[in-house]
Symmetry: none
Subunit: 150 residues, 4 copies
């Protein structure tokens, strides 16, 4: 019995080692639920937008473009989502920062307009949402509705 | 006789509306139905893929990435869909053409691998589907299932 | 009564055609007329410019470069036209917006200088004009002359 | 009198030397005439194409897209014209070359498909024409009609 306990204690670090290099990630089902919530929020006010969900590396998991949304928003929504994922922060933070510090605009993958939000699980980044199509403040409201559905 | 004249006058605006420079397009609902059909076909064989639906100009309307799909397929599926939309043909046509005519590989926006299909309405291009993740022949089967749902 | 039924049956296909997912678009003839008007306005003051007309997705329909125009304007005129089409607004709006909100400069396909104008038909975007070569205010005057010819 | 003639003959090479750092170039009027001829040839067979005329550096002077032409041809026609201008040869030469020598495909600005032709004046390159939309052989016929109008 004592032997078994010793074995268990000796094995423990290996078990936890084997289990340690893990990270949470967004599934397609997560992305659909997030997008559905964002799309519902947008439709509530007849806002036409593109809704993007990305993984923690800024890779697309889901994109949908509501009919009538300006074409330019397809790339803008992706830029916002990528920026939020790669820098783990709301793109609103960059929007505010560039006023005093325009040099931020020279950084790759920075989209300095509200509408991109990171998505965390237990403090770990798992992805992001990016919304574009209406005003940046409205884009932000839609993005927030999406994050809340996660 | 007078009645016919009235009918003609009533019909006139509809005729002229119908005859003006108008073209059909894919809606988000169309894109979702197409994507759902493609995703169902993929799941039937546990194939992990990215499914993209674009408009006639090669702009994204919808993208979804099934869990576990290789990251490279996110851009490949878009490249296939764009190629099929911009050149109004299956990317399989390019795949076959480059064997005798390798110069095709030098053309912008040509993806010369099966898995991209144009979508037509009454002979007019309205968009395309692009699939990537498994073998190109399997990608093609999934894309075909998507088109059939339109 | 029977006659009305026949009329209704005759009308039906035109109604459904008119109501399906259709959108207006610019023809090459439209683009030539728009470009001719813009070119005439430019020549009136011996202004050397590039004049671009694009479709609603920011694809080129027509481009012409007046002799002696600076080479840089070839791409600038396209950037303005693309921005106006993709965001359905005058590039002057962006030029003004970036003063208070410099983050706009980080958005893909935004050209924040006057000289790009969207073109609408019955409230639906059909394309755009982009002009570059002289001062941005003068570019704007030429672009406006083009739009008025549509 | 005879002396004057001798002086003139002696001076002639110096005059031409003084005038030598000059090169001919295509005007917008040239480009329109070339494009009109190409467009007429295309319409003769109801071929839908994009017609591009560039200067000797591969910069756009003129572009026009016939209604209904596949969107992909907008960039392909430019790629062909640029290739013909930058390498002073028909893109058909590259199309043939890549069969034995596929490495040509790795070179920047090479479009290895018929439909791009250089335009010369007195043996000096002044620009090029690029056509895309139908088969590459048909594109070539249209491009040729354009060059002949110069």
């Amino acid at each position: 019995m004592k032997k078994l306990l010793i074995i268990a204690l000796v094995l423990l670090p290996f078990f936890s080692f084997a289990q340690s290099a893990m990270q949470p990630y967004l599934t397609l089902e997560d992305a659909k639920r997030i997008s559905d919530a964002a799309e519902s929020r947008a439709k509530q006010d007849n806002w036409t937008v593109v809704i993007v969900v990305m993984d923690a590396s800024g890779n697309l998991i889901s994109l949908r473009k509501v009919d009538g949304t300006q074409i330019g928003s397809i790339e803008v929504a992706q830029a916002k989502a990528k920026s939020a994922a790669l820098f783990k922060r709301s793109t609103k933070v960059f929007q505010d920062a560039v006023v005093a510090n325009p040099g931020v605009l020279s950084l790759p993958n920075v989209a300095a307009i509200e509408g991109g939000l990171p998505i965390f699980k237990d403090g770990v980044i798992v992805g992001s949402i990016g919304v574009s199509g209406v005003t940046s403040a409205q884009d932000g409201i839609i993005a927030d509705a999406g994050v809340k559905a996660y």
